[in-house]
């Protein structure tokens, strides 16, 4: 139910009305509204109840285990929130001069250094406001690099078919042609196909490592060699950085540019489209092209570099220095962990995934890559259940909601039929992991004995199966008065 549907004409709430209105004298008459705006007319209590009820319908990381593969839904420590919301940070105006923002800029400078260190890159820009913008910045720098060398023949970006769907979209946005590289049966990039695809037209490759198939790329050194020998650059999609955080550095693997999803790996609240932060790190040869602003320390003072002092920059990504509040949370998270803590993130993220993978296999589930070790996530395929019992991955996902678990990612990656991509993250207790495994085993038993029960799920949620075809074809997000 919408709040507008609780509205009753002329119901007002004196306590919430403005005490005084400012002078409208300086607003041109044609910009002044002549009719009252159409707002819901509800009491304060109705409003509180309405939104509290809505919030209670949420499945969230604060209420449920959320093993949504590829999304890294880890716990967001409350301490990060508390510190990022200190008045000095929250009330800092984004146009304040640098000499009045020294505290904030010191944090951002430190964050740049931490991200440089953990990724092994030469320099970092915090400017991109989300993962997709980080990707765009990364590939725009690859283009700027080739352009600056007058190398206009490089028109193609290679993207393995196991990549995130955003990768080909990014390359296209930067006016490159996308060439897909196949994956072999064990989930690695097909090296022979890669060798056949590279040439003087290769601008670079966009690689997700570990890949979306839930496996580590084993031939990464070979891939880096093949691309660099052909004059191309290597782009690292940092979506799965959680699996290697503090253990292995993309810079050491030979990558030239990386974007990081701080809202995932560095534990800031996300979901529902934002807010995000997608800093980029680069090797020495891409440093001149980094997006601005950049924070530097000079003469004991923190300063902000803009296009004026960075003539080769690809430009700013937004009006200000990234998503300040999210960057602050990520910075505090990194400082709370420290160097050792950061290693434990990768260790426990991969340990938890491998534990669940082995337990689910023992419970009778088929793995997409049974010969491979899990990364921070892994893939179960329900192909057999779909074929023999007519119970598919979506049915399992919906039934999991009844058992109190957010469903894993379904039907992604596209290469694996009837798949569940499961990512527990490092922040869950073993009891929670065991609870999920037990629920999966019970649903499997239900599918074998009473398939309709699973196919009719969920039963305990505010809504049953949604008509996703109708939602996609007749998207209607606006309310209008009858």
């Amino acid at each position: 139910m919408l709040i507008f549907e609780r509205s009753k004409a002329n119901r007002t709430n004196k306590a919430q009305q403005p005490r005084q209105t400012g002078s409208l004298a300086d607003i041109p008459a044609n910009f002044l509204r002549k009719q009252r705006p159409l707002l819901p007319e509800v009491s304060e209590m109705q409003t509180v109840r309405h939104y509290t009820r809505l919030s209670q319908k949420n499945f969230s990381i604060d209420t449920h285990f959320y093993p949504l593969g590829s999304c890294t839904m880890k716990y967001n420590p409350r301490g990060c929130n508390t510190l990022a919301m200190l008045p000095g940070f929250v009330q800092r105006h984004p146009t304040s001069p640098a000499n009045m923002s020294q505290g904030f800029l010191a944090c951002m400078h430190d964050l740049q250094d931490i991200l440089k260190d953990v990724t092994g890159m030469k320099a970092v820009s915090l400017a991109p406001m989300a993962g997709a913008q980080g990707e765009f910045a990364g590939v725009a720098m690859i283009r700027a690099y080739h352009d600056a060398r007058g190398d206009s023949a490089r028109t193609e970006i290679l993207v393995p078919d196991a990549a995130h769907g955003t990768n080909p979209a990014t390359a296209t946005m930067c006016n490159f042609k996308v060439r897909e590289i196949p994956t072999n049966k064990e989930g690695d990039v097909d090296i022979e196909a890669l060798k056949a695809a590279v040439g003087p037209h290769t601008a670079g490759i966009m690689l997700t490592n570990p890949s979306t198939l839930g496996v580590f790329e084993r031939k990464i050194k070979d891939i880096a060699g093949i691309i660099h020998d052909a004059g191309g650059l290597l782009y690292y999609d940092g979506a799965n950085l959680n699996a290697i955080l503090g253990k292995v550095k993309p810079g050491d693997m030979g990558f030239d540019v990386i974007h990081m999803n701080l809202h995932k790996t560095f534990s800031t609240p996300h979901g529902g489209g934002g807010p995000g932060a997608g800093p980029v790190g680069v090797s020495a040869r891409l440093e001149p092209f980094l997006p601005v602003p950049l924070v530097i320390q000079r003469d004991n003072e923190f300063q902000v570099l803009t296009e004026k002092s960075r003539p080769q920059t690809i430009g700013p990504m937004s009006a200000f220095l990234g998503n300040a509040g999210i960057l602050m949370r990520a910075y505090i998270y990194a400082r709370l962990l420290g160097r050792e803590g950061m290693e434990r993130v990768a260790e426990y993220a991969t340990l938890n995934a491998n534990y669940m993978m082995v337990k689910l296999r023992r419970a009778g589930f088929d793995l997409a890559f049974p010969n491979r070790r899990a990364t921070h996530e892994f893939i179960v395929t329900l192909k057999k259940q779909a074929r023999e019992l007519d119970v598919n991955a979506m049915d399992f996902a919906k039934r999991l909601l009844d058992y109190g678990f957010h469903a894993p990612t379904t039907y992604f990656p596209l290469l694996v039929p009837e798949c569940l991509l499961i990512e527990p993250t490092e922040t869950e207790a073993m009891e929670t992991l065991d609870g999920f495994i037990e629920a999966m085993a019970r649903i499997k038993h239900e599918a074998e004995t009473d398939a309709d029960l699973v196919k009719g799920a969920p039963y305990t949620q505010p809504v049953r199966r949604l008509d996703d075809v109708k939602a996609a074809k007749e998207l209607d997000l606006t309310w209008s008065a009858a």
Partner: protein
């Protein structure tokens, strides 16, 4: 299991091709492909008059699960596109090999049709899927 009409030819990427009496070819996606994709919600057909090489992405089919490119099976020029798919993409779910055709093309080399997979080979390939 999905049906695989014997008079058609097929590609690895799940397009079917029919040879028409007037020498043109009709292209669509197979019943197996529509089954994997699930309910379709959007189809982008190619512009009439466009030249494609075999292997070029020339159309898009999008379902509630995934968006997927359709690849041109032969070198040639698009002569007709199934515009009814814009409003009713579900035709492909209901009749992939009939009313759910996507476009027609005039092939540069009609002989290349015979090099495409026959029904038995395609049926064997999808049985392994």
């Amino acid at each position: 299991m999905s049906n695989v009409p014997s008079e058609l030819r097929y590609t690895k990427s799940h397009e079917w091709v029919a040879r028409n009496e007037d020498g043109s070819f009709t292209v669509g996606i197979t019943d197996h492909a529509q089954h994997l994709l699930g309910d379709l919600v959007f189809v982008e057909v190619p512009d009439v008059g466009t030249d494609f090489s075999a292997g070029d992405d020339c159309a898009v089919v999008e379902s509630v699960k995934a968006a997927s490119d359709v690849y041109c099976p032969l070198d040639g020029e698009v002569t007709e596109a199934n515009e009814t798919l814009a409003d009713t993409p579900e035709i492909i779910n209901n009749d992939a090999f009939g009313d759910g055709w996507i476009f027609k093309l005039q092939a540069k080399d009609a002989g290349a049709f015979d090099d495409l997979m026959d029904a038995d080979t395609y049926a064997e390939m999808i049985a392994e899927d």
